[in-house]
């Protein structure tokens, strides 16, 4: 018995719908993972920067800021897909006080496995920011 023409076309359409949907799902998982990992990196670097800021002597804004900037940049600069941006409000505290830093970075998806989608947007990137607070001790860094 020959296959009716209607059924033959139906199979093709089903496959044409199913495969792209499943591939989109897989790429979505990968994209979510890449962005989540980038956020973990930025959050960790910002936390370290806040801790470094309060490891400098108290009442020395310049040194505190330098400790934080070097820590933030040093932690992120080796990343192949993440470029560190500014680190705001990070540095300067009085003994027993706190420092709250906000770190910015950009994820360049063209440098990740998501590059296979690059033809859609050659400048595809995601901006990420994270905030962390460092708590200083009364008994350190006179």
């Amino acid at each position: 018995m020959n296959m009716p023409r209607k059924h033959s076309g139906q199979a093709l359409i089903e496959t044409a719908i199913t495969i792209p949907v499943l591939l989109t799902l897989l790429l979505s998982f990968l994209l979510a993972m890449v962005v989540a990992q980038a956020y973990v990196d930025v959050d960790t670097a910002t936390s370290l920067a806040a801790a470094a800021a309060v490891a400098a002597p108290a009442d020395n804004d310049a040194l505190s800021s330098e400790f934080a900037q070097k820590t933030y940049g040093g932690t992120l600069r080796r990343s192949s897909y993440l470029e560190p941006g500014s680190l705001d409000n990070c540095g300067g505290y009085t003994a027993g006080g706190t420092v709250t830093c906000t770190g910015h970075a950009t994820v360049f998806l063209s440098r990740t496995p998501m590059a296979i989608l690059q033809p859609l947007d050659s400048n595809w990137h995601v901006d990420i920011q994270a905030t962390a607070t460092g708590y200083s001790s009364f008994y350190r860094s006179k």
Binding site: T15, I19, T44, L48, A51, T71, G74, T75
Partner: protein
Amino acid sequence: MPVGPHQGGQSIVEFAFTIGAFLLVLFGALSTALYAVQRSAAVTAAAAGVRAAASAQSDSASDVDLAAAGPLVSSRLEPVLFGSTLERKPAGTPCDPLDSIPTGHLEVCATLDPADASMVLVVVRGRPFNLLPLVPLPWTIDAPAEFHKVTFQR
């Protein structure tokens, strides 16, 4: 209407394609999730390790304690190694290049930053086992963390 031999075979082929693609997505997502767990642990372990390594030694307030990083990183990372091994490099010894590290092996190393001796660098680097070889994704980990030296003086 009875199904002819052509249509029966066609259904099997369609089912094979669909279930194959579905399993690929399912295992790909699982593999991605497991890798994300391992990499997140490596990043946070390196951060914890660098804070310990950047602190002063108990018997020398002006020297950093690079050897403190290894045990701390190991304790954080071992629960999520899933069969991979973790090697602690001696204090001050840099990690091997990623290309020369075999699959199933990770390294942790604590050094001073070669570009800036006031900074301590801890790196967790390697190639964990791909737990779902059905989806051969090239998972690698290269998680650095830097921290400014924390030393003391009288």
